[in-house]
Symmetry: C2
Subunit: 252 residues, 2 copies
Amino acid sequence: MSAQRVTAAVLIVGDEILSGRTQDINLSAIAKFLGVLGVEVAEARVVSDVHDDIVAALNALRTRWDYVITTGGIGPTHDDITADGVAAAFGVPLYEHPEIIALMLQRYQPSELNAARRRMARVPEGGELIKNPVQGPPGFTIGNVFVLAGVPSIMRGMLLDVGPRLKGGTVVLSRTVRVEGFGEGIIAAPLEATAKAYPEMSLGSYPFSSPDLYGSNLVLRARDPQELDRATADLIAALEAAEITGARVMEA
Amino acid sequence: MSAQRVTAAVLIVGDEILSGRTQDINLSAIAKFLGVLGVEVAEARVVSDVHDDIVAALNALRTRWDYVITTGGIGPTHDDITADGVAAAFGVPLYEHPEIIALMLQRYQPSELNAARRRMARVPEGGELIKNPVQGPPGFTIGNVFVLAGVPSIMRGMLLDVGPRLKGGTVVLSRTVRVEGFGEGIIAAPLEATAKAYPEMSLGSYPFSSPDLYGSNLVLRARDPQELDRATADLIAALEAAEITGARVMEA
């Protein structure tokens, strides 16, 4: 085994997420997309549309994790300042990318290419474009940072051009063991015993309850499929030894 | 005017959010709840179930913002380590809170009070309990940090006992001006002009588009209701001057 951990952070930029006006759904979409490629989202932050906060968060995340994906703040309005923050973090100027201007001129007359629209053509020096198959201008990447739109449908479209640029590690596999009719308070001991026997793995418990049914989904995560099989079997045996019956393996 | 800004950060603890398995809905619920009390969520972070990451994030957030709300990681299983992280951040030990033990003994026989359940009775020295009107043990608060459950229904129940403990500032009021049939590329200039005239306010643009309709919701946010009225009128006038017609004020 030479399982390799490759990590990413997600940086969500936008007052509207922090005010509660908009429910973020990008983090989970990015996590699932990257997970399949063997890139594990290890941290996420949400910052407001404040230049220094974007720069500080970006520098903290890009030095610690292998990749950073940002969402939001790349539109044409004055509060779209992510490109400025990324350029400042890397200490490079922004310039108007001729390819984006050319793309815009397919849609707009030269007279319609106003200052606001030109804002969206700004890319940090040394950056490369990320294709936008949905609508609007491209995103960009510089260093280990990928700068995507905040609108979920556009963000997901851009991810398609991020995937091939990432060097993924070993994919983390997961399996869920569902236990019904027993609470976490008695599941905890056999779960912890199994977790201690597999220190490289992550084992979590996610309880559910309704008037009709309660229990917990026990999620095992490992990079080694054989280890995942062994730990699953050991967990079920440990549950049964604790008289917690009926545990069953769900599709991951 | 002596508008006062009071801030909070949200720290979400849990591998399941970062893996994409669980969609967080707590951040927006907390932001809306606190907003009404005059407490503005200014940053959010999601960290995994790793002790040092919880401690580092907590110390960064509690020193910068007025309050910190954490969600997740306070159940009975081995991966529930938020209390440990909070205690370490404050440099105090955990102890078994007699009130939580007493609550548990209303539900369980003494013989059922196993090590896992007792984990949930651990509170940092100097902490106070936060009532849980839904199910399970209380949360707790220490210093400017409030430690809540991750299950959304329980988290929202606990928030009811957090509210009265906060010293809120001036509530941020918001108003939405909806523009249909015009894109952000031409809305940007009048929006920016208005934003520059009201530097204390936050003005954002949130575009929408469907095959039938496109446009943008322009959101104005201010602590001073009269300033909000003036800026709204100025924005609509600026839009009309730019021949962007039909803008209308929506309920905030």
